[in-house]
């Protein structure tokens, strides 16, 4: 299963774009997370790998932005297993092993669309990284 992030703008938010694509291509989409209001939003969905190309194309044709979410990486050298990330994770992708080490399940992780754990890591061991593996995101807090 592959993950894609669909972004819709203010005009597109009231259109049944995802439903149309599902019906037309008969492809199941699992919604992993959705943040939508009247101004637009983003939906993280999971689709079968072999359908990814045609689904991305179909969605883009309809004018929505489609991207592959960044993945969350944990630097095991920096992590000292305090565990402050554990209870924050909405999908229980982070847990403590029997020897109190922090364990990270990449399969369960929602990736950069969530990122709730990133700024809670005192060791700054958690980063959102582009899928190709380079260009790590600077997680420095924006000062406002």
């Amino acid at each position: 299963m592959g993950r894609i992030l669909i972004r819709v703008n203010e005009e597109q938010v009231s259109e049944p774009i995802a439903s149309q694509v599902i019906i037309e291509y008969k492809v199941p989409m699992v919604i992993l997370s959705a943040h939508i209001n009247s101004k637009g939003g983003e939906i993280l969905v999971e689709i079968p790998d072999d359908t990814e190309d045609k689904i991305v194309e179909a969605l883009r044709k309809r004018g929505v932005t489609v991207s592959v979410p960044k993945s969350i990486e944990v630097d095991s050298e920096k992590c000292f297993s305090c565990g402050s990330c554990v209870a924050l994770c909405p999908v229980e992708a982070i847990s403590l092993t029997s020897d109190s080490s922090v364990q990270f399940d990449k399969e369960k992780c929602l990736g950069s669309t969530c990122s709730i754990c990133v700024d809670a890591c005192p060791a700054r061991a958690i980063k959102a990284v582009k899928p190709n593996g380079n260009g790590s995101q600077n997680n420095r807090e924006k000062k406002s």
């Binding site: 297993s81 565990g83 924050l88 420095r140």
Partner: protein, 520 residues
């Protein structure tokens, strides 16, 4: 000798007298003799609890000489004293920075104190004194900048150089409050995520955090401080250090004792001293600290068997920015370590901020040092006090709270016409009308600007123009906090509500300006 006898006599008072080991003691000297011969029986606190559970206190006392404890957590009141040596020509440092972190000059010319929470001027909130200490311990090169006013004996006014720990005369870790016996469990009852020294707290009790090693904590295993005090040799930052007295805010009666410690940071290891960054709070230092507890008497064998289920702490609401924050009952470290606790009947997931994995590693490493004979025990020359009281600050100036400036809100209900509301704005001469339901609970807010826009756009219904997502204030919040919220959301008034969202009044930016403007 004298010390251990007196400790024992205190401890057996009121205890059962049928135990066959009663009256028997061992001394620190006897234990050290065994350590030198390689005969000492050393257990980690974790192992001691299991032994007492399976074989009883009597057997544990007979068999065990030392119990090693450990903790590894963010300890903000940590720092390091360094001596740089003299430059040529010499400088009497006035201001100094290491890796852009301001360090202070509490003494003469070239002595400096690096505080763990001082933040980098270039990377605030991400890099600070804790990281400088960690980098130095790791052998990394750091950059020193310093300025001075220049004197006849110290003419130099500027210096810039790079340094490693090998270039320093002294590099002494000096932590004035470490190893808190237990700490609060933190939650957030408000509607917004808050960032605290207890880390990120999600709104409406969506998570909880706690700190401390519970049953592995040094002070928890010797709660009467029989064996600890000035001169107790300890594991500190991966090296050897000493307790030099009670830590600041030491509060033994509240089971919240603390330690002041020092040690040679040149001999410490980066694994046990790590800089940390807490988003929107600041920087700190994670410190590994372990204290060996000599099992001098049966009482200590029993005390070191304490379990997480017997150690309780308060659940505290960190969204209330006051000294005395509301509490939601107590919780045991056993529950905290289980990963979830119950608050008001609701399950809340809880995470630790300190590392249990590293705490265990501290106690295991200390155990191996004693077994190898590279670490011997000391008797304190003065025990930690057991009756110190932690007082609040004496304040000669009162600060204003929301309740002291708020005034009654002009309200309306959702079924009213815009015209009626417009009239009320004029007659009451206000800019904000708070929308309430029949029971007085907050529904929304309408401003004179919203009314003007409604007129211009020909809108008739209140529901088309009112703001539903209302930013509010609580009556017991400091006015400064409410004022920050006004600025943060770029708004001009906050309805003041109670915990059930019943409207108590309103505070406007004019109220704030009148009061704070006069003061600052």
């Amino acid at each position: 000798m004298i010390y251990s006898r007196s400790a024992f006599s205190i401890c057996i008072k009121g205890k059962a007298t049928t135990l066959s080991n009663e009256g028997k003691t061992r001394t620190v000297e006897e234990i050290n003799a065994k350590i030198r011969k390689g005969d000492a029986q050393v257990l980690t606190a974790e192992e001691m609890k299991k032994l007492v559970e399976s074989s009883g206190v009597e057997v544990a006392f007979k068999e065990v000489d030392v119990v090693t404890t450990g903790t590894f957590g963010a300890m903000c009141s940590s720092g390091a004293v360094i001596n740089l040596g003299h430059s040529d020509p010499p400088i009497k440092i006035d201001h100094a920075w290491i890796n852009d972190v301001e360090v202070c000059h509490p003494g003469a010319a070239v002595d400096i104190f690096i505080g763990a929470t001082n933040m980098s001027e270039k990377q605030p909130f991400e890099y600070g004194g804790g990281h400088v200490i960690g980098d130095l311990v790791a052998g990394k090169e750091v950059e020193l900048r310093a300025t001075a006013y220049g004197t006849d004996c110290y003419p130099r006014t500027q210096v810039k150089t790079t340094l490693t720990k090998d270039d320093l005369n002294q590099f002494c870790l000096l932590n004035f409050r470490n190893g808190y016996q237990r700490y609060n469990c933190a939650v957030n009852s408000s509607d917004e995520t808050i960032y605290t020294y207890m880390s990120k707290l999600l709104p409406r009790f969506r998570n909880a955090t706690y700190s401390g090693a519970g049953e592995l904590n040094p002070l928890m295993n010797d709660p009467d401080y029989e064996t600890m005090g000035m001169g107790t040799r300890i594991f500190l930052g991966g090296g050897q250090g000493y307790i030099i007295g009670e830590g600041t805010q030491h509060s033994p009666k509240n089971l919240s004792g603390t330690l002041m410690v020092k040690g040679d940071a040149k001999k410490m290891t980066p694994e046990y001293l790590q800089g940390a960054a807490f988003t929107k709070y600041g920087t700190s230092l994670y410190v590994g600290l372990g204290v060996p507890i000599p099992i001098l008497n049966m009482g200590l064998a029993k005390k070191t068997a304490i379990r997480d289920s017997e150690i309780f702490t308060d659940i505290v609401d960190y969204s209330v920015p006051r000294r005395d924050r509301p509490k939601f009952g107590q919780v045991s470290y056993k529950e905290l370590k289980s990963g979830s606790i119950t608050i008001n009947g609701k399950k809340v997931r809880v995470s630790s901020l300190s590392s249990l994995k590293m705490a265990k590693k501290v106690s295991q490493t200390l155990k191996s040092w004693i077994e190898e004979g590279t670490f011997t025990l000391t008797s304190p020359v003065e025990r930690l006090p057991t009756s110190t009281v932690f007082k609040s600050m004496r304040q000669t100036e009162e600060i204003p709270f929301v309740v002291s400036v708020m005034h009654p809100a002009v309200t309306c209900t959702e079924d009213e016409e815009i015209r009626a509301i417009a009239e009320r704005i004029v007659t009451k001469s206000v800019n904000h009308i708070v929308v309430v339901d029949a029971t007085g609970k907050l529904r929304g807010i309408v401003t004179s600007w919203d009314i003007t826009r409604a007129m211009a756009e020909g809108k008739k219904a209140l529901s088309d123009i009112e703001s539903r997502n209302v930013i509010t204030a609580k009556p017991d919040e400091p006015l400064e906090v409410a004022s920050k919220r006004l600025a943060q959301h770029n708004i001009s008034a906050l309805p003041v509500v109670d915990i059930e969202r019943k409207v108590l009044g309103i505070v406007t930016s004019e109220d704030v300006a009148k009061l704070l403007g006069r003061r600052y």
